[in-house]
């Protein structure tokens, strides 16, 4: 099964396959042999295609904080259940819900606007990570449940799409 992570604002899908003592990481456009071993405390040793490098890894909720190569990064795991739950519901008015508490940074669409899959609808920010909520199907903006600057709780309705009539 594919999983998705948000790194520096881009959503990237990947999947793992077991290979010997480690794993093979697959993503569109490439793959690599990878392994991770605990070094004590928050220290981990990452090995990618035979090259090992120490790093610090701290986990807080859906966020993964990593210090590697002299820099700190934040990665968000995009919950597959939540990510696809609404989009997978075939037909009907679909709704995107907030994956975590946050604030609306910007709204890029208006009510009734026709959107195609992948079109940006709104930008939210949660724990310093910006995420663009994109149209998960072709359709029209049925409802925008939030306004710019508004804070919301986890699972709060963000936007509803009405599917285009084929």
């Amino acid at each position: 099964m594919r999983h998705a992570f948000d790194i520096a604002g881009s959503e990237i899908e990947l999947w793992l396959a077991r290979e010997g003592a480690g794993y093979r990481l697959h993503r569109d456009g490439g793959e690599a042999r990878v392994a991770l071993s605990a070094e004590g405390g928050l220290r981990q040793m990452l090995t990618v295609d035979g090259v090992s490098e120490p790093m610090l890894v701290a986990i807080e909720g859906e966020l993964l904080h990593v210090h590697v190569g002299g820099r700190s990064h934040v990665i968000r795991h995009l919950d597959p259940a939540r990510r696809f739950a609404d989009a997978d519901a075939s037909g009907g008015a679909d709704m995107a819900r907030a994956p975590m508490p946050g604030t609306v940074v910007r709204i890029d669409a208006v009510l009734g606007q026709a959107v195609a899959v992948g079109d940006p609808i709104l930008v939210i920010e949660s724990m310093k990570l910006e995420t663009t909520i994109r149209a998960w199907q072709d359709g029209r903006i049925g409802d925008i449940h939030v306004s710019e600057g508004q804070s919301f709780d986890r699972d709060a309705p963000l936007v509803s799409l009405t599917a285009s009539e084929a």
């Binding site: 990878v34 904080h65 700190s72």
Partner: protein
């Protein structure tokens, strides 16, 4: 060396500066007390002090500004002296008087010196009177019409500033003289709003100026020395980010002149304790800007090149001791740079960030010093200034100092709260910085430095790998990695 007339010092501050003061006080054999708002419970300063006295307030900031409560804390804890650090009550002449009236020693200048230098119009008049250079300027007095005329006569561009200002608040640059009156009205309104004082002054604005300041020390016996200059031109929103010494912009002759001028101003003011005389430098000329009557954030770069502990000197001077060295004894070696680590997002307009510090690893090594006020597990909130720590490096020359700063930044791991460290790394790697060609508007003119560059493929792959494997380990339960996400576990091979 004589003994200080106090054995217990109360530190009326928080964060890195409270810890810094405690460190020097302990070295001198003093017992230390720190006041602490509940938001700072468990901070390194609270851990390091011999005694902690809780203070309360409507907000954390209000608590640290409550002079009466702090003097009471000194009384209750048996402290005979109070060090105010920087910010909060450090330049409050009323507090300095109240401390003295309570029979305690204020580790700072006299209230008269704080009053004189705290009023920019008076300070400028004082400096002019003593023959030191200020930028061509006009000061508002009882005749507003003539003020505008005198300002207009200076010619564009102009800088309009509130007399009681600080931190860039209420300052306005006027390039189009047709807008002068309008800008004066705005600046007066902001001055009244921020400082309760609408008086203004206007000075010729030096384009692309550099901010250079000189550390001075004076004692109660009439001795004043300077400890060299600091270059503080790298700023965002008029707030310093990088400071260094010596300034790459000064020739030896200019350095001598600016430092002598600073010492002369302090001497004329009968200045006691540590202070900083600030100058605007441009087109080969320097002009007095203001004097800060306290220890500054960037004092460590001076300490790194001179080997003099400024907090120790403050305590000795406050205790009545004469400076144990003269100007001829002060020597400076190598180059030092300070980088301010802020909890903020550089790529989003330097907006403050919050979070809990999940991991903290401080850089070490030759020529590296970190003054940090936060510890692992502490929560970073927007209740206080966003400065988390200061990274200070020293090298034989500027090139080595920059190299050490780059290395130290890479070794400085702080997880759980976004910081400006990646931005600082880009900043010190910039060719303009390396060439020493910066000015106070440099970051504003180069906003691309603040933008986060896209991740390279190799780093992205590493991050994806660690993300996937941390997640994977949850299901496997093999590597004892903490739970990333409760709903994970759906990997299928």
């Amino acid at each position: 060396m004589s003994r200080l007339p106090f054995d217990t010092l109360l530190v009326a501050n928080r964060g890195e500066i409270a810890l810094r003061i405690i460190r020097s006080a302990k070295r001198l054999g003093l017992r230390t007390v720190v006041v602490c708002h509940e938001a700072d419970a468990g901070s390194p300063a609270a851990e390091a002090a011999d005694m902690v006295v809780g203070i309360e307030g409507r907000t954390g900031v209000a608590a640290y500004l409550d002079g009466a409560q702090i003097i009471d804390a000194a009384r209750r804890s048996g402290a005979q002296a109070i060090h105010p650090g920087y910010g909060f009550l450090s330049e409050n002449a009323g507090f300095a008087r109240a401390v003295a009236a309570a029979g305690l020693v204020f580790v700072g200048p006299t209230p008269e010196a704080i009053d004189l230098m705290g009023d920019k119009i008076r300070a400028r008049a004082f400096v002019v009177e003593h023959g030191f250079p200020v930028a061509p300027s006009a000061i508002e007095d009882d005749d507003p019409a003539s003020f505008v005329e005198r300002a207009r006569a200076l010619g564009a561009p102009l800088l309009v500033k509130p007399s009681a200002g600080g931190g860039g608040k209420g300052m306005r640059i006027v390039r189009d003289m047709a807008l002068l009156e309008q800008e004066i009205i705005q600046a007066r309104s902001e001055g009244t709003r921020y400082f309760g004082d609408g008086r203004l002054y206007v000075e010729r604005f030096v384009e692309r100026p550099r901010h250079i300041e000189v550390q001075v020390l004076g004692d109660a016996h009439g001795h004043v020395v300077h400890l060299g200059e600091r270059e503080c031109s790298v700023q965002r929103r008029f707030q310093k980010i990088v400071e260094e010494t010596p300034s790459p912009a000064l020739s030896p002759a200019l350095r001598e002149r600016i430092c002598e001028t600073a010492a002369g101003i302090a001497r004329a003011a009968g200045y006691r304790n540590a202070g900083t005389v600030e100058f605007i430098f441009g087109d080969g000329q320097f002009y007095f800007l203001e004097m800060n009557t306290r220890l500054q954030v960037e004092h460590p770069v001076t300490e790194m090149v001179t080997g003099i502990d400024l907090v120790e000197q403050q305590l000795r001077v406050a205790g009545g001791e004469a400076l144990a060295f003269s100007q001829a004894d002060v020597t400076s070696s190598g180059h030092s740079i300070e980088l301010r680590v802020y909890a903020e997002s550089a790529s989003r307009g330097f907006t403050p960030t919050t979070g809990r510090i999940l991991a903290l690893e401080l850089p070490q090594g030759e020529g590296v010093r970190v003054d940090a006020g936060f510890g692992q597990g502490q929560r970073v909130t927007t209740a206080f200034d966003p400065m988390l720590a200061k990274l200070i490096v020293h090298g034989a020359d500027r090139g080595q100092a920059i190299d050490r700063a780059r290395r130290a930044l890479a070794d400085f791991a702080l997880l759980g709260c976004e910081t400006n460290m990646a931005f600082l790394g880009r900043l010190i790697a910039d060719p303009a910085f390396a060439a020493g060609e910066v000015h106070t508007g440099w970051l504003d003119e180069n906003p691309s430095l603040a933008a986060e560059p896209p991740l390279d493929r190799v780093t992205e792959l590493k991050l994806l790998a660690v993300a996937a494997l941390s997640t994977r380990a949850v299901r496997d339960g093999a590597d004892a990695v903490p739970t990333l996400h409760a709903s994970i576990g759906a990997w299928r091979n």
